[in-house]
């Protein structure tokens, strides 16, 4: 069994990371999972959370706000709409993201007044964001 696999983290605008890694922790929409080499081929959507990568030079973490991940035996590619290294995540960016999520929640709530589906989705997204902020020690301002 190979002990490392190819890991790619790409956003629409650029490639953020590409390395040989031992494992990747993915914040999947249905729960966290850890992918290691020779994982069964899986495609999953992401919830806002932290992506932890065990790479050649230690552990690195990235904040993602959504997207999806493709896991194959040979590697993991994460396609995130917005992703940044955890060190670059400041209170300011956090506020921006929260603001966006809240506006979306509001507009969804108005648009789908009598349909619980989309509203629940938006509410979940919002609470995921708050949880992610708490985890990182950043406060999500009301």
């Amino acid at each position: 069994m190979a002990d490392t696999m190819q890991f790619d983290l790409v956003s629409p605008e650029r490639r953020l990371a590409s390395a040989q890694v031992a494992s990747v922790q993915i914040p999947g929409a249905d729960g966290d999972m850890t992918a290691m080499p020779d994982h069964a081929p899986t495609i999953t959507t992401l919830r806002p959370g932290i992506l932890t990568v065990d790479g050649p030079d230690g552990q690195s973490q990235y904040v993602v706000t959504g997207g999806f991940a493709e896991i194959t035996a040979a590697g993991v590619s994460v396609l995130a709409e917005r992703a940044l290294a955890r060190e670059d995540m400041t209170q300011e960016t956090m506020d921006d993201i929260m603001e966006e999520a809240r506006t979306m929640y509001k507009s969804v709530k108005e648009a789908f007044e009598n349909e619980p589906g989309p509203v629940d989705d938006a509410a979940k997204l919002l609470s995921d964001m708050v949880a992610m902020g708490d985890h990182m020690g950043l406060t999500a301002k009301e």
Binding site: P12, D30, P41, L79
Partner: protein, 292 residues
Amino acid sequence: MPSLKDLKNRIESVKSTRKITKAMQMVAAAKLRRAQEAAEAARPYAERMTGVLSNIAVSAKGNDDAPALLKGTGSEERHLLVVCTSERGLCGGFNSSIVKLAKEHIAKLRTDGKKVTLLCVGKKGREQLKREYADLFIDPIIFEGVKRISYGEAEQVADVVLKAFEAEEYDVVTLFYSEFRSVVSQVPTALQLIPASIPEVEGEAAAATQYEYEPDENALLADLLPKNVTTQVFRALLENAASEQGARMSAMDNATRNAGEMVDKLSIQYNRSRQAAITSELIEIISGAEAL
């Protein structure tokens, strides 16, 4: 015969025009490099996206409850054409060639009796289409003052398209942009956005990887397809940006060369008429002296 002074003024003005076109060419070259880099940086995401989508789409196509974004609404009556052009002119035939392709499509769809609506992205295309098709327009999207196309801009366009599609206003959405091949070659392209045109994977490759989906296939597709629309729009905008700069660069290169030739021609004419004036003066003096 223009006077010497007129000629001199003319030469000066052509020279300053040459300076301007030369400067524009250099600016376009620098911007082109940046635009190309942006287009290349966006490529891995788009490729992966298409890869994953075609994987799921193969297994989902048979399903009757596959999302409308993939299999269409079942009719082909109402068309939305998204025409992406630039915000600024002086870039050769760049905008005209996109508009020309769009016009061909409009004419064809109309003779088939389809209903056509136009969404213009960029000011220049709108100006060119306004005279003939002003009644087909919906609110245009103008990116004036946007220096670098980012994902946000693509989201704006995709939002409009997706909302209109969800409201069941259109059946087919086609995107017009110019594909960047090289500095001298930009190819106007029409790309069908909805229903999604997804390249078929080769038989063996498709069978080799059976993915597990989390959540289930349809939920994933419902999530991915709108993202795919945004990604395609983003790619088109980036290709357009690179093409625009490429077209401008070669147009300005031509203009600079033409101005150079004109300066040479005018200079010869100027020197000749100056010499002619001197010669005739000399003749006058000599014949005057001989008469004494």
